[in-house]
């Protein structure tokens, strides 16, 4: 039976519908299609059809790592699905905020296919049930709070009147979840760039010489001391009386005229101009309704686990906040770890590029222990690292294509990625022509250049790594310092345009170049650990992951890993988002974010 069944007895017609449902399984993926592919899952060939909105899904597929914050988001997604709905979990997971999984299977393509078959059976048998239970978790509950329309900083839990102006407070709904998120997670914010008058704490400025007091309804009433308005008796509000407000007025010519008219009329009611005059204005000066919309953490065109909270002015981004709900916390599980366990731990840190992190751990341990590896092993490791780079770039292409609705590319890149993930050296040679054909086809695709050029441009003085940096002409590739890599013929691929098109070009050129490197390396072997003796030392290593240079420092005591510090490229790239998408159209903004190829998993708290 399924816990998300729809109310009703399974009679003739419903039986037919239930069996139709079992053939039409629309799946919403958690944490996302990128993670599914990186784990080698081919969702569509298993018979599940991925959909973009939870409202259109009847299967929630949870696979791969789910942090506590992601679990809450998953519960919200599950609640948004309409009945009959089912929960399908791959791999052992702790999902306390969700009902018991309807079907569980192991995390592999085999498990997926077998699970889908069971899911079909379950659907045709129990899509409708005579009695159902509600799904209710605390994070879904909605709280009502009360606020003043003139003074947004006044917020209280109970109805009443505003202590400033005496107006009735207006109820508004807040999700308890949003609050929760803000408390727990790293927040990157650039609110400061936009003057938001209502966030000033007026209380701190009470005795400031530059403060003056005015009535919110009668702006011509201005005095230097607090008090009440001689016209309407409302409490006067403090405001700053310097040139800054003049500056605002240049942007608000219309509002000014409106104010003047109103003063002469001496109207006693609230006008839109008054209500909106203190609200932030967009750069084009056209006042539109601002809406707050979350994009993520399971948004179809963004990496799974990344949450963008955008304030949209029409369809342009006015403000943005970025959260990573998939953060790992401790690299070394206390108090210390055996080196082989540490390597496994680091392999799991970033599901989007496990081999690069594995190599990072191996190299750091070897550096600490002073172990030298043979040139042959080093070459084979480079082969594995570069194979992962191709798979990762193809995965990025698939996500990019999904976001831009480029259906053919999405399918082609995704199927090639799945093949490259586990391809042996000989298979890579076989796959080479189809990858090159894909790249050639892409370079001839109409609309692609015009769609991506001049979007997502970054400042010149940014800190960036990997393809993002190389698309801006910065060459800080860790492979430049790797003698074996250079001997294999490595040169960094560069572009200077520094936009989405350049990042796309760099990744395509890297795929071509990397295929050559793998052929030169002549082997592909996933790195394994050498035994580290009972030593006490410290070591470090750098690896050029598909997203850029990652740096690991660790200390060993008695052959045990005590501390480890990881410096990953996505941590820096997160900071690029806000300035990059400011005032961009929504589609352009999301494409720009996507072009950074962020991995929220490697961002450590």
């Amino acid at each position: 039976m399924i816990t998300g069944a729809r109310l009703g007895t399974l009679t003739g017609f419903r039986r037919l519908i239930a069996s139709a449902m079992s053939h039409d399984l629309n799946v919403f993926l958690v944490p996302g299609p990128d993670i599914a592919r990186a784990q080698g899952l081919d969702i569509e060939s298993s018979g599940l059809q991925p959909v973009a909105s939870p409202r259109h899904a009847n299967v929630l597929l949870v696979m791969g790592p789910v942090t506590p914050a992601l679990q809450e988001a998953t519960a919200v997604i599950y609640a948004q699905m309409v009945r009959p709905r089912s929960l399908f979990v791959l791999g052992a997971q702790d999902l306390s905020s969700l009902p018991a999984a309807d079907v569980e299977a192991e995390l592999s393509q085999q498990g997926l296919i077998e699970g889908v078959n069971r899911l079909r059976r379950v659907f045709s048998e129990s899509a409708f049930r005579p009695s159902i239970s509600d799904f209710d978790v605390p994070i879904l509950q909605i709280r009502i709070e009360y606020t003043c329309s003139m003074h947004p900083e006044i917020v209280q839990d109970e109805p009443g009147s505003c202590p400033r102006c005496g107006m009735f407070l207006i109820p508004r709904e807040v999700q308890s979840m949003a609050e929760h998120r803000h408390m727990n997670h790293q927040k990157i914010n650039t609110d400061a760039e936009i003057p938001v008058t209502f966030t000033h704490n007026h209380g701190d400025h009470q005795h400031d010489a530059s403060m003056e007091y005015t009535c919110p309804m009668h702006p011509d009433v201005v005095q230097n001391e607090p008090g009440s308005c001689p016209r309407c008796g409302m409490n006067l509000e403090p405001r700053e009386s310097q040139t800054e407000s003049d500056h605002d007025h240049h942007h608000m010519d219309h509002a000014d005229q409106g104010n003047m008219n109103m003063d002469h009329d001496d109207m006693g009611f609230m006008s839109m101009i008054d209500v909106t005059k203190d609200l932030p204005r967009s750069e084009d000066g056209l006042p539109m309704e601002w809406i707050d919309a979350p994009f993520g953490p399971f948004f179809p065109g963004l990496p799974g686990g990344l949450l963008l909270l955008l304030t949209l002015d029409g369809d342009a981004v006015a403000r943005s906040e970025t959260h990573c709900l998939s953060e790992n916390t401790e690299l070394v599980q206390s108090p210390s770890m055996e080196p082989p366990n540490f390597i496994e731990r680091l392999t799991c840190v970033n599901p989007l590029s496990p081999i690069a992190y594995r190599l990072l751990a191996c190299r750091a341990l070897e550096h600490a222990a002073g172990i030298d590896i043979s040139a042959e092993t080093a070459r084979a490791r480079i082969g594995a690292l570069e194979r992962e780079r191709i798979a990762s770039h193809l995965g990025w292409l698939a996500l990019f294509a999904q976001q831009t609705g480029f259906d053919w590319l999405m399918r082609r890149a995704a199927s090639l990625q799945l093949k490259f993930l586990t391809a042996e050296f000989q298979q890579i040679k076989v796959l080479k022509p189809s990858v090159l054909a894909l790249i050639k086809r892409l370079q001839q695709t109409p609309l692609l250049k015009s769609r991506t050029a001049n979007i997502g441009q970054l400042m010149a003085d940014i800190v960036s790594y990997g393809p993002v940096a190389r698309a801006a002409g910065i060459d800080n590739d860790a492979r430049n310092d790797d003698k074996i890599c250079v001997a294999l013929g490595f040169t960094a691929v560069k572009q200077i345009r520094n936009d989405v098109l350049a990042r796309l070009q760099v990744r395509l050129d890297e795929i071509t170049h990397t295929l050559m490197l793998i052929e030169a390396a002549d082997a592909v072997v996933v790195p394994v650990s050498n035994t580290v003796g009972k030593i006490s030392s410290s070591g470090e290593a750098r690896v050029e992951t598909p997203r850029g240079m990652a740096h690991l420092q660790l200390t060993l005591e008695n052959g045990q890993v005590m501390t480890a510090q990881l410096d990953a490229p996505s941590t820096y790239h997160l900071n690029l988002i806000n300035p990059m998408i400011d005032q961009q159209e929504l589609g352009d903004a999301l494409m720009a974010v996507n072009s950074l190829d962020l991995s929220p998993w490697e961002v450590l708290q």
Partner: protein, 298 residues
């Protein structure tokens, strides 16, 4: 009788379009998939979003379906197979399809959700881009036929189909028709990758089924309009007229559905500027050329 026949063929056509679209999307040709999808949608709950505008939310899918079905009324599948041969037929198709915009705006506004609302706005912008490119090529077609009767327009192409007679007009109309049917690469209002489904995102169950049916019928309507205006309607050798209509409509539909998956979604700003900077001058040029042709070879 004609009405019933055309409505039945419309439902069957919608089914075939769904099969073609499924094929374009998944690469598999499955005759049963649309049937399963439709039945499954009927069996699912159709939830109402909180804080919705009930009237807009409920009316939008029905209005989309209705406006597409209305336009079919003037589509002749053969000389006799037409619901009503209006004297203003060519104009009527355009008039009926204006409500597509209204339906999408209502669907965007209704659920009070950010994704849907932005989708609705996007389509409003899209209208400004494609609207002139529907009407202006139509003008040239009507000039040649010297009539707005859709049957007359088909007959006027007996010697030479309009796709050859006025190829510029055909290209413009075809692109505009795809934009009107919000097919990829013009699927800005229902974009999955950057709006999680846009105006469709909040619909579920029966309402979603109606919305999707409306979209399928809209695609057929526009394909049928393309066939009547540019591909000689029912005309063709050997086969009966209705068969030619059906074949041509399906071929146009397949081209519309398959073409978009080879391209990335267009930027709204580009769509607007290209339509106005290149599209409208070309459409004027087309009218001028057709005018000269009509005068020189009457």
């Amino acid at each position: 009788m004609t009405t019933v026949f055309i409505l039945i063929s419309l439902v069957f056509g919608a089914y075939l379009v769904a099969v073609i679209e499924d094929w374009a999307l998944t690469g598999r040709f499955r005759l049963t998939a649309p049937v399963f999808s439709a039945l499954a949608l009927l069996g699912r709950e159709s939830v109402l979003p909180r804080k919705l505008d009930r009237v807009f939310f409920e009316v939008a899918p029905v209005l989309l379906l209705l406006s597409a079905v209305l336009a079919v009324a003037v589509v002749p599948l053969s000389p006799d197979l037409i619901i009503t041969d209006l004297a203003t037929g060519a104009l009527f198709i355009n008039a009926a399809l204006v409500y597509v915009l209204v339906a999408l705006l209502m669907a965007g506004w209704g659920p009070d959700g950010a994704y849907a609302m932005i989708g609705g706005w996007r389509f409003l912008g899209q209208l400004i881009a494609y609207a002139m490119l529907i009407v202006m090529p139509l003008t040239a077609v009507v000039m040649r036929a010297e009539s707005m009767l859709t049957t007359e327009i088909v007959v006027s192409q007996a010697g030479l189909w309009n796709i050859v007679y006025q190829p510029v007009g055909f290209v413009l109309f075809f692109i505009a028709a795809m934009a009107l049917a919000f097919l990829p690469p013009f699927d800005l209002p229902t974009s999955k990758g950057d709006l999680a489904g846009g105006v469709e995102a909040e619909y579920s169950g029966v309402r979603l089924a109606v919305f999707r049916l409306g979209r399928l019928v809209l695609i057929i309507t526009l394909a049928a309009a393309t066939v009547i205006f540019y591909l000689g309607g029912w005309q063709g050798p050997w086969l009966p007229p209705w068969a030619w209509s059906a074949i041509k409509i399906l071929v146009v539909t397949a081209v519309m559905l398959l073409g978009g998956r080879m391209l990335p979604r267009i930027r709204e700003a580009h769509l607007l500027s290209w339509c106005w900077i290149f599209g409208i001058p070309l459409a004027l040029l087309n009218i001028f050329l057709v005018g000269v042709l009509v005068l020189v070879f009457p």
